[in-house]
């Protein structure tokens, strides 16, 4: 760097980053502040929000959404409930499916690996709109899925019209309660505007169909990440375990899984961030229905602003969602970190040193493609 003229680098440096700063500032940072203002105002969506017609209403929008009983809070809570079930369904399933596919493909004797890998990965590069149209067709009442179910004597539900919650259905089947006449100990107590019966509905049949679609779509990308990590597994370690007489399952749990731990952590974190933001599928497939069981905070925020003219509330929902994602991912990192944290950190440092020596395609490539896969 001695040869560099510091003065020139000063100017060139700023010059090089100016376009990026300009665009990010204009379309990321400025919007956040504008939205913050709107979320504190009563703007009705007409003309500019910065005229005297729009007035400051303090935290009214937030309190209508979080504190006061009413439709606004009810809808937000429904959307949280839906997304909660969505997240705890999708994240584990897609992680397990991705890992399973990766383990299958990692078999040394496998022929046609490229073919299978391509097949499993392909859906994650396809537009969510195209996939959604396809699944609307597959999951139609007389669609392919129900035709296949019929082979096994199962009378498939009318997926995207069915608002019954899975927990409700299971409870009904085992005789715990009757869906048509829910017990009063479930319907009477209510928290934040929703009764226990509503909170513990589980994902609706319609939401489950979307969950299956998302798991199917995104597992491929995560599979690639697991596959890469599996190929790094030093053979000696596994051989040593084998000499110890460990069977396959033991080897998998005691050798492979610990080795994959960082990747699992990454996949789960990315999964969390992506699933809480789910929007495209709701926009294309269900518009929040049936009976609001596929309403998510992201879609609700969009709907509040763009169809109900409640821009303040819409912006407020966006900020609440932002805060929620931030808190949850922090919490999750902290939870999954605890024990081997120290050892982990050391390993990470070593990996980073190695990574620096190797020319990578960029550490964040996959992370970014993940985010795309999740949100699109």
């Amino acid at each position: 760097m001695k040869a560099g003229d510091p003065q020139r680098q000063q100017g060139a440096g700023w010059l090089f980053v100016t376009p990026a700063i300009l665009v990010l500032g204009l379309f990321l940072i400025l919007p956040i502040f504008m939205a913050l203002w709107v979320s504190l105002s009563d703007w009705s969506g007409r003309g500019s929000p910065f005229t005297s017609e729009t007035s400051f209403v303090g935290l009214d929008n937030y309190s209508a959404l979080l504190a006061e009983p009413g439709l606004a809070r009810q809808d937000l809570m429904i959307s949280f409930r839906n997304t909660f079930y969505y997240v705890i369904g999708v994240v584990p399933l897609q992680t397990v499916l991705a890992l399973s596919l990766a383990v299958l493909l990692n078999n040394k004797f496998l022929k046609g690996r490229t073919f299978f890998r391509t097949a499993f990965y392909f859906p994650s590069v396809v537009s969510s709109v195209a996939i959604s149209l396809l699944f609307l067709f597959l999951f139609a009442g007389g669609g392919a899925i129900n035709k296949v179910l019929a082979w096994f004597g199962v009378n498939g539900p009318n997926w995207f019209q069915d608002s019954r919650g899975l927990i409700h259905i299971i409870g009904d089947r085992v005789g715990l309660w009757s869906i048509s006449d829910p017990p009063s100990w479930m319907t009477d107590p209510s928290v934040l505007g929703l009764s226990f019966w509503q909170w513990f509905a589980g994902p609706s049949v319609a939401l489950s169909a979307i969950m299956m679609q998302v798991v199917w779509t995104t597992a491929g990308t995560f599979m690639l990440m697991f596959l890469a990590s599996l190929q790094d597994l030093p053979t000696e370690v596994e051989e040593a375990a084998m000499v110890d007489g460990a069977n396959k399952w033991q080897r998998f749990m005691n050798v492979t899984v610990p080795h994959l731990r960082p990747t699992i952590l990454l996949v789960v974190t990315l999964g969390f961030i992506g699933t809480w933001q789910v929007f495209d599928q709701m926009y294309v497939m269900t518009q929040g229905g049936p009976a609001k069981t596929t309403l998510t905070p992201a879609y609700l925020s969009y709907q509040a602003a763009f169809t109900n003219f409640q821009w303040g509330q819409g912006a407020a929902i966006a900020f609440i969602l932002f805060a929620l994602i931030f808190v949850l991912t922090t919490l999750q990192r902290w939870l999954l970190r605890d024990k081997d944290a120290a050892a982990q950190a050391k390993a990470e440092r070593r990996q980073r040193r190695e990574a620096r020596r190797r020319p990578p395609g960029g550490g964040a490539v996959a992370e970014q493609s993940q985010r795309k896969a999740q949100t699109t």
């Binding site: 300009l22 969506g45 500019s48 169809t307």
Partner: protein, 420 residues
């Protein structure tokens, strides 16, 4: 910042396409301009004088073509330009237009939306020529706060459609056409067989509401100031639907894998359905082989009851071409033009002057027209959209719903909105 930007553009010349350069500068300069200006959103809305944008929610090619033809004729005659756009999501596209200060100059507006939009100041108030010739019920439907905001475009009412083949198969005759709710339930039971359900309706208050009206109830009081959802009449109307669903004679379209009543009827999963005369187009296009007859909705305990649907030609307050827009509306609402629309895509004219000709050409639509005398328009109060949406979503599960609870929650939600 400025001089850096200029230096940047020299750099950009190195290897960038011109599109990008324009795009990048466009963004940057726009910000500077607005920053130094008064900050009001740019209103390039109406465009140059003489050019109008019309946004329609089309039922299909027939409607789009007919509207385009009619506007083109006017445009040629008057020397204006009209661009007809078909919305894929009317509500959202309108909202973005209003917020962006560039709404379409003229657009379809549902009666249920008038109060909302008028209240937000989005509508331009006008009166078309010969306003008194519009059906009084329709003038009323577009009146909010003592003002009629726009000219009724057309209307429809709900009637009962009956699949002729299924009707005869079940051994029913013309004498059996139901005139009371009891008879309706009875024939529905008779017609329910195998894959076929007696009566299939689209979910929500826009269908079930007819039975509420038949029982003498309504969601709000006459003045539209107080909710009356938990009143006995409303509950009776909804219970009627609920009970028949429980017995399996009635079903929602979704339950028989259809998007709406007409689709269920067309695929013959339904022996009867309740729709407006828009079902005609769908039947002749998609299910030309299904024969059916149309009857007025049966009378309820409180007399005849049906729902009335209507849209008007809304004109935007932000339009810079309101005069031309009103002229266009005048052209589109002449009796002759309304009859042409009727011919092309089967809408019923909103003008009384056109009614006789209409019934002459479409004698089968008599039951729909008849509903015009006693039909009830939609809930028309600002802010009710979400409340109604919530009620609709709860009524999707009507089969298992506790109606008392559902209507009480509707009342408290509506109360909160109406008080504002």
């Amino acid at each position: 910042m400025k001089h850096r930007t200029r230096r940047l553009s020299t750099l950009v010349a190195f290897g960038l396409t011109s599109t990008l350069a324009i795009a990048a500068c466009g963004g940057g300069e726009g910000f500077d301009d607005e920053g130094s200006g008064d900050g009001a959103a740019a209103t390039d809305g109406g465009g140059e004088p003489g050019s109008l944008v019309m946004l329609i929610a089309s039922s299909g090619d027939a409607e789009t073509d007919a509207v385009e033809e009619a506007t083109a004729a006017w445009a040629e005659e008057s020397g204006n330009e009209v661009e007809v756009r078909v919305a894929s999501d009317m509500g959202q596209e309108l909202a973005q237009g209003f917020a962006g200060g560039n709404p379409p100059d003229i657009f379809y507006l549902d009666a249920a939306q008038v109060a909302e939009q008028a209240n937000a100041g989005n509508l331009y108030e006008y009166e078309a020529e010969e306003n008194d010739d519009f059906f009084p019920a329709l003038q009323e439907a577009f009146t909010y706060d003592g003002t009629q905001w726009c000219a009724p475009k057309d209307f429809s009412t709900l009637a009962l459609q009956i699949n002729t083949a299924k009707w005869e198969e079940a051994g029913l005759t013309d004498d059996d056409i139901p005139t009371t709710y009891e008879e309706l339930a009875t024939v529905a039971e008779t017609l329910t067989e195998g894959d076929t359900t007696g009566l299939v309706i689209s979910p929500g208050i826009d269908r079930a509401g007819a039975f509420v009206v038949g029982h003498g109830g309504w969601w709000l009081n006459e003045e539209g100031t107080e909710p009356t959802g938990a009143s006995q009449e409303v509950l009776d109307g909804l219970s009627y639907v609920q009970d028949n669903m429980a017995e399996g004679h009635f079903a929602y379209a979704g339950d028989v894998d259809a998007g709406w009543g007409g689709e269920a009827f067309g695929t013959e999963r339904a022996a009867m359905t309740i729709e407006g005369n828009w079902i005609r187009g769908a039947m002749s296009n998609d299910y030309p082989d299904v024969d059916y007859t149309v009857a007025e909705l049966p009378e309820g305990p409180a007399g005849p009851g049906t729902l009335l649907f209507t849209q008007c030609w809304g004109i935007a307050d932000a339009s810079s071409n309101q005069e031309a827009a009103v002229e266009l509306v005048n052209h589109l609402t002449t009796p002759e033009q309304q009859l042409e629309f009727a011919e092309a895509f089967g809408v019923m004219p909103s003008r009384q002057a056109a009614t006789d000709d209409y019934t002459e050409s479409f004698p089968d639509d008599e039951p729909f027209i008849a509903g015009g005398d006693y039909g009830r328009g939609p809930i028309n109060a600002p802010g009710m959209g979400q409340v109604v949406a919530d009620l609709n979503s709860q009524l999707e599960g009507i089969a298992n719903a506790n109606l008392q609870q559902v209507m009480e929650s509707f009342d408290s939600n509506a109360q909160a909105v109406l008080e504002q």
